[in-house]
């Protein structure tokens, strides 16, 4: 396993665990906007929001600075994974738009608390998608030779 591939895998797994923890906590509260009233819940959210991109930054960007650790192939995979990141962000936004429009169709208004949630989810999913994009890049390269 290449150093970048290994680190992307760690970053993805840790990020995914943190995201699942956040989803479980929000679902357990019974109301997805409960974080607006509960400081502890907000702290959990901020921890995940900062944690996921920070883990990616440390594992993939900061500890892979030596030129010998990354070759041309790795750099190309990182560049290509940005496409996956953007697609994930767009699909997240589209999913939020459709879901909230449908859920709040009768009221015609969406609670503003969702704004924070949408922004946080795009950041978290964007980072996870970047790690996943790197893993898929290696998988494709190994498959195609």
């Amino acid at each position: 396993m290449a150093p970048l591939q290994k680190r992307a895998l760690y970053s993805f797994v840790i990020g995914l665990v943190l995201t699942i923890v956040l989803i479980v906590v929000l679902v357990a509260q019974g109301d997805i906007t409960a974080f607006e009233r509960d400081l502890k819940l907000r702290l959990v959210m901020y921890a995940v929001l900062i944690g996921v991109p920070l883990i990616y930054l440390i594992l993939v960007n900061l500890t892979l600075r030596k030129p010998t650790q990354l070759d041309e192939r790795d750099r190309r995979i990182i560049e290509r994974s940005s496409w996956a990141q953007w697609l994930a962000v767009i699909f997240t936004l589209v999913a939020w738009t459709i879901a909230l429009t449908e859920i709040y169709r009768d009221q015609g208004q969406v609670p503003i608390a969702f704004l924070k949630l949408i922004f946080m989810s795009t950041l978290i999913i964007g980072t996870l998608a970047q790690s996943l994009g790197i893993l898929v890049g290696y998988w494709e390269m190994n498959r195609n030779g």
Partner: protein, 146 residues
Amino acid sequence: MSPSQKMSWGNVIVWGTYLVVLAIVLAANGTILFWQEDSLKNAFFTITGVAVAAFIIMMLFVWIGASRARVTIDERDHKIMNRANALAGPIAMTALAVTSLVLGLVYTEDKNSVMSPYFLMYVTLINVVVYWLAQAIYTLVAYRRN
């Protein structure tokens, strides 16, 4: 001119014009919350619809032209496209953050606890348009340099 360059020129013309026209219309009405007035909402959807139609027609022309001329995409094209995508992503994310922040502030200033579903559409649209523009501009600059 390669298909990527043609597509980039098309993107700059279509989405650049779209942003300028939209900015003028919103500035003339003195608000960025287009959904609050029916006439402004209609204008917004008409401008967006025309831009999307122009984008699809432009893509079709480039695609048909490339198929007829049997143009092949080489290593340099791939490299430029990958770099363009890598650069456009963070720029689009920044645009998303700024739009969310500005609109969030507008709502908070108005002491609102609810927002319009159009808000989400707005944020998504800004993200897509900024991404395409950033990608297209970088592609054109990269081809000029190489």
